[in-house]
Subunit: 396 residues, 2 copies
């Protein structure tokens, strides 16, 4: 038999798998065009042509052993330099190439940071509601995840709860901005307040507490909302990033960690990130992707596509009487369940061929997540079903 | 400060880093052509042209969202099917696509297998001398690595010690074949004997003990030596593989796990592998590489190149009086240190501008590893230096 721990994990995954298969069965029974699947957070805008051109050019011009070969565990120097310069240009930061470690996506980046920071029993705070995988990433390295409550009106963090949850055992805080699953953006004022609290606690406990800013949705910000760049607010910060959303290349597993140059013991931390990349079996970020990035660092997918979807779905659901957090970034809408038990609401939606994810997945029951990284036409087709669902709950 | 565990790891890595930098400093001082670096096990034969053609063709013909998109955590169905068919054709096995999980190289594969199998305290056996990273891969998942002694003459496993080291706590045995660092191949007779012992122990303890066959060097076998395919010998077997050596693409991080269809609880084990791939932050093997593999599964790099090096270095060192294990596979030569303390021998070699790795790295002091994945010309140039080294130790 496989491990007892993994047997439990498989049971948890079986629920998601069941939902996925149910969706496919529904599509077969009712026709794919009559099923409205808002459950998956997968990018769906085209890959920028310049990125694919950069891939082909790298294959045709770089020596194949350099192109597909090993490099330093932290990545090719020119890729790390290109990332540093791109960040400096956009955010007025002072990164050098050495502060950047290329990783197997943001998921790889987070595991590398956790491996570098955590001794057994160290606590990591996450701001509910949060991406459920954070639980695994922290547990992989024997850390203990603690949750910070949200303000139930704004879905900004409850700062009093944040301060109360920081203890001597706290080693790190993960902030995801813009937020999966709520679509809200934590503004500068909130970040500043959190940084002040962290500095106070660092002084009180005489130890470092690290901020891990997980930013795969950074470029998906709407209505001119700005996503604060955290190294400007707090020195002990790691930024974890993935090109999955900005270039629509999630399958390629390419991202990075940027360590704030002013971090305490920065050089030791950078060594730790490299060693962790190797020890965990990532070894390095995929080499061809690193080469292609250098020539297409400025490439961006069509963010306006998601914005158009956002306006349609948010406007329509609000008009139907649903209570939604105003979506400012990422491609998620966070909807208050009209049923106290959101599982029943998810089931009711399913009867109207609408697939949603219940808030328990994100440690926040009573809500559902709707991923609008779908076709505009599917949203249009789904609106009569949402209308019936609203009527069923007498929302109007 | 980063974790205490990682601070220790960095110290260990610093030694390797220091050697690497010393090598570079020597190359600067004496000229690169006068330094003979046999320390790194990096592939150095060209990438097959058909592989690069397959990459370009995939970019030019597959829809970019399919090409770079998410797929099932286990990989694209057509890639898994292509791997299964390739194995069946070559080894007469009965794999279906579902038995194959695409991974981020063999290092990723081993971590995924360990995550799937190990509960805290479970023991994993490795056959000394072994690739030192196995220690990290087992410890990452709170397993305990135990070492099996080699027969000091043949560097085959000491079967009596193997049997003695299997306890009720043993969950898995890692076999690397051909072997890094010795270059020997474990033949069918040894594998059969080990499988028989494992079956006996499984029956005695009433539990599964898994074989993990780590085979990144499978295609690098010389003199017609055959590398046994382990699922023919033992049902509870996972084969872990990387295309790093066979295609010279180590930077791309692409490999797989093949689970024996007759394994106990095979379907649960396969679910575990998929879940582990996601939980550990690999998520999936790089997507473009998976697509390119389908069209170039039969491609192979120039193995004869390594064979030519092998004959030159083994023949020359044996003639000079060094005691070497006869290299049958991979691209390593395992040399008995003429000094009881192999660290002193490594230092002596360095004075002749020869860079080697001491056996302690592989849990086998008293020996050194020489990686002959270098240019033939460098080996030729190095021979006078080896001659002086032999004279210093009065070997002739």
């Amino acid at each position: 038999m496989i491990s007892k721990k993994m047997q439990q994990e498989i049971k948890g995954s079986a629920t998601i798998r069941a939902m996925f298969q149910e969706g496919r069965a529904m599509a077969q029974e009712f026709g794919a065009e009559n099923v409205y699947d808002f459950s998956l957070g997968n990018p769906m805008t085209p890959v920028p042509a310049e990125f694919n051109r950069a891939v082909v050019e790298a294959v045709q011009t770089v020596s194949s052993m350099e192109l597909h070969g090993y490099m330093d565990n932290a990545g090719y120097p020119e890729t790390r330099q290109a990332v540093a310069e791109d960040l400096n240009r956009r955010f007025g930061t002072d990164f050098e190439g050495k502060h950047i470690v290329m990783t197997v996506g943001a998921a790889g980046a987070l595991n590398v940071v956790c491996k570098t920071l955590l001794d057994p029993g160290d606590e990591v705070l996450a701001l509910a509601p949060y991406f459920g995988e954070y639980r695994s990433y922290v547990a992989n390295h024997q850390g203990v995840l603690r949750e910070v409550k949200p303000d139930a009106k704004t879905f900004q963090p409850d700062l009093a709860d944040f301060e109360a949850k920081i203890t001597e055992a706290t080693k790190a805080v993960i902030i995801n901005n813009p937020v999966n699953p709520t679509g809200v953006i934590y503004p500068a004022g909130i970040i500043q307040a959190m940084a002040d609290i962290l500095r106070k606690k660092q002084a009180a406990y005489g130890k470092e507490i690290y901020l891990v800013s997980d930013e795969p949705y950074r470029e998906l910000a709407y209505d001119g909302n700005e996503v604060p760049f955290l190294t400007h607010y707090y020195d002990n910060t790691f930024v974890t990033y993935s090109f999955s959303k900005s270039l629509s290349i999630p399958g390629e597993r390419i991202g990075y960690i940027a360590a704030c140059p002013k971090m305490a013991g920065c050089s030791q931390a950078l060594s730790g990130l490299s060693v962790a990349n190797r020890m965990l079996g990532f070894v390095n970020a995929p080499s061809l992707m690193q080469k292609a990035l250098v020539a297409s660092m400025g490439a961006k997918t069509d963010v306006a596509y998601y914005d158009r979807n956002r306006q349609l779905i948010y406007g329509s659901l609000a008009k139907l009487g649903f209570t939604c957090a105003k979506p400012q970034g990422a491609f998620y809408l966070w909807v208050k369940s009209p049923d106290a038990d959101e599982k029943k609401f998810v089931e009711a939606a399913k009867r109207h061929h609408i697939l949603l994810v219940g808030g328990a997945t994100f440690s926040c029951p009573g809500y559902v997540r709707l991923a609008y990284c779908v076709s505009y036409e599917m949203i249009e087709r789904s609106l009569p079903a949402f209308k019936k669902l609203a009527e069923e709950y007498r929302l109007a």
